[in-house]
Symmetry: C2
């Protein structure tokens, strides 16, 4: 009789942050792929594009013009999904048709005046400037007492729904606490109530001891493939210090975070020698809603590519209707990322 | 002061089956799209493709050959994500690294010997034959007492990760209850405990009274856009009779279901005059795991297209990290689908 092995037998793993399980099918990598092959967006953009609504000096949809900015630039999303002046109201018919109004604010952050850069191609100093903008925006959005949660994120690459290749991210903030944050709050709160310690701090300690899924580490942050990763090369950046939001990061921590982002995204680009698409964003405590001592700041990276620059993992039928599923193991993914160079392939090729 | 309106103000709606909310941004449809435009797979397949592993008589990856079948054909997935002979085992380190083995069986169902058909292009009789296969497979899989849940589904179209355009679906069955089923079980159970009635039967009655989201109805099934739909043209087929699985459908119900599927998928194809991609699948009670009187059979359709045959909705950054979000209202989508013809555009064009 065989013994059960995580690296060869189908199994489920618990996401300790959400309480949900992922189905892992390690043996399934042998499957040939006859399906969709993604177009690879050409990588020959100019430094300045006169038609780009994010480049310095250019006009935007609302009639405004961008300043001649030299670092980063923030403005309100011209096609915001959430609006500040939403009237109050709700609806409930027999607990069957239930709706609530939702106020919010959506912002866009250009990471650089240069149209042809991406985070891994920027210097640690330039990324630190972006981290500063994130911190400042977080702090000033939190001054609106009706805002309860602030989601900082980036969609990178056409296949992640990014409609403009100019390096940029977004911030959506709103009057209620969104689903994923509600789940992570509940799990962290429960753990904290029992142990009086941060769930992620304990998890980090165990991962450091095991050293099977860690990709990179500096003074203040660890980059790892979580044990319960869903996307093939999904990673998390976790702060070593137990702080519940970006507000509390010191100058040294912000520089370390910039370094961690540069190293991770460079490894990502090197993996398939392509500008690696992903959605990434920070998870942190809600604001203006009491205390959240259990919350531990972290950042998720959800990249879709599975086998190459043009073959992604599809989260479709079974995954949408039943349960998330992955093919390669998190340990395999962590090893691949660990062995990647921290020098960007475009530089090492010149 | 404005009053709150569901058709113009951002709001959240409750999914009564999962307890989760969706963010609805009705005003956001005006957003111009400069992002990814999907390739449209050519629609000129031959009736028989010698290289297709689903066509009658052809060879498959495991060395077997398909019979010269004339209706539908079922076989074990050659690259199954779940395997029957998975050894028992689990792992738990400090409740932080938690995993369980998972046994399962994955099957593939070819819907037709003809390589160039899709469900809307098949006759109601031919679709009824598929429904019969689903019922038979469900019944015989449920005879394995270790199987606790049976997921019947179809991924249609390249952009839904379908790797072969030959009309086919899949069945994944497994030893545990997957996430989405656990959520829907809990909500239905709670409602049933309070009201002694099926949640979906009550919901259906209210939707019939309102008649704002109903797309089609016959003797035994209603097709509607749920109040909490996430995907732009998401729909549900709900059985009028409160039964908890396909096992209990009569001959008349199976034929009605086939008709509902034909009408819905024809309307889908007519919407953007394209072979409309989606993931669709039935939700029903777990098996071999006690009684589920609260469970009410239904089928979800999750189609990604938003604006045209080549522009889809991306569930990315905010959606992955925070909360599902949609742009058009469910009522708008239901009206569009309602007004579509039940004659397939390829036929009405010839
Ligand atoms: O089994 P297939 O058709 O090869 O694969 C497709 O459906 C599966 C079940 O939804 C998914 O896990 C795969 O990502 C998708 O490409
Ligand atoms: O806001 P953008 O970049 O136009 O749009 C992109 O990001 C949003 C937030 O994740 C998504 O809702 C959209 O589907 C996606 O295309």
């Amino acid at each position: 009789n065989q013994t059960f092995e995580l690296d060869s037998n189908p199994h489920t793993r618990l996401n300790i942050l959400t309480g949900e399980w992922v189905l892992v099918s390690p043996h399934r990598t042998k499957r040939p792929w006859q399906g969709k092959v993604e177009d690879i967006a050409p990588d020959n953009r100019p430094e300045y594009d006169p038609k780009c609504y994010l480049c310095p000096g250019n006009g935007r949809a609302d009639g405004d013009s961008n300043p001649e900015y030299t670092e980063s630039f923030v403005f309100n999303n011209d096609f915001a999904a959430l609006l500040e002046d939403t009237p109050a109201g709700d609806m409930n018919e027999d607990d069957l048709l239930v709706a609530n109004n939702q106020r919010g604010l959506c912002k866009v952050i250009s990471f650089s005046p240069k149209h042809n850069l991406t985070l891994p191609e920027m210097s640690v100093e330039a990324i630190t400037a972006v981290v500063n903008v994130w911190q400042n925006e977080f702090n000033s959005l939190a001054e609106n007492d009706w805002i309860k949660y602030i989601q900082i994120f980036e969609n990178k690459g056409e296949i992640m729904g990014c409609s403009n290749p100019h390096p940029h991210g977004q911030i959506w903030s709103q009057g209620d606490i969104p689903l994923e944050i509600a789940k992570e709050t509940e799990r962290q709160k429960t753990y904290y109530a029992i142990h009086r310690r941060s769930l992620l701090a304990d998890y980090l300690k165990l991962e450091q001891k095991k050293n099977e899924r860690i990709v990179f580490e500096n003074d203040h942050f660890v980059v790892l493939v979580p044990f319960w990763a869903v996307w093939p090369y999904e990673t998390m950046i976790i702060s070593k210090r137990h702080v519940n939001s970006i507000k509390l990061f010191s100058e040294a921590e912000k520089k370390s975070l910039a370094e961690a982002i540069k190293v991770l995204t460079t490894k990502y680009d090197n993996l398939f020698e392509t500008s690696f698409p992903y959605s990434a964003g920070m998870h942190q405590a809600p604001v203006n809603n009491g205390y959240y001592p259990e919350w531990h700041w972290h950042m998720h990276f959800y990249p879709p590519l599975l086998r190459s620059a043009s073959v992604k993992k599809f989260m479709v039928g079974y995954e949408m209707l039943a349960n998330p599923q992955r093919d390669i193991t998190p340990e395999f993914a962590a090893n691949r990322l660990k062995e990647m160079s921290t020098i960007h392939y475009k530089i090492s090729k010149t």
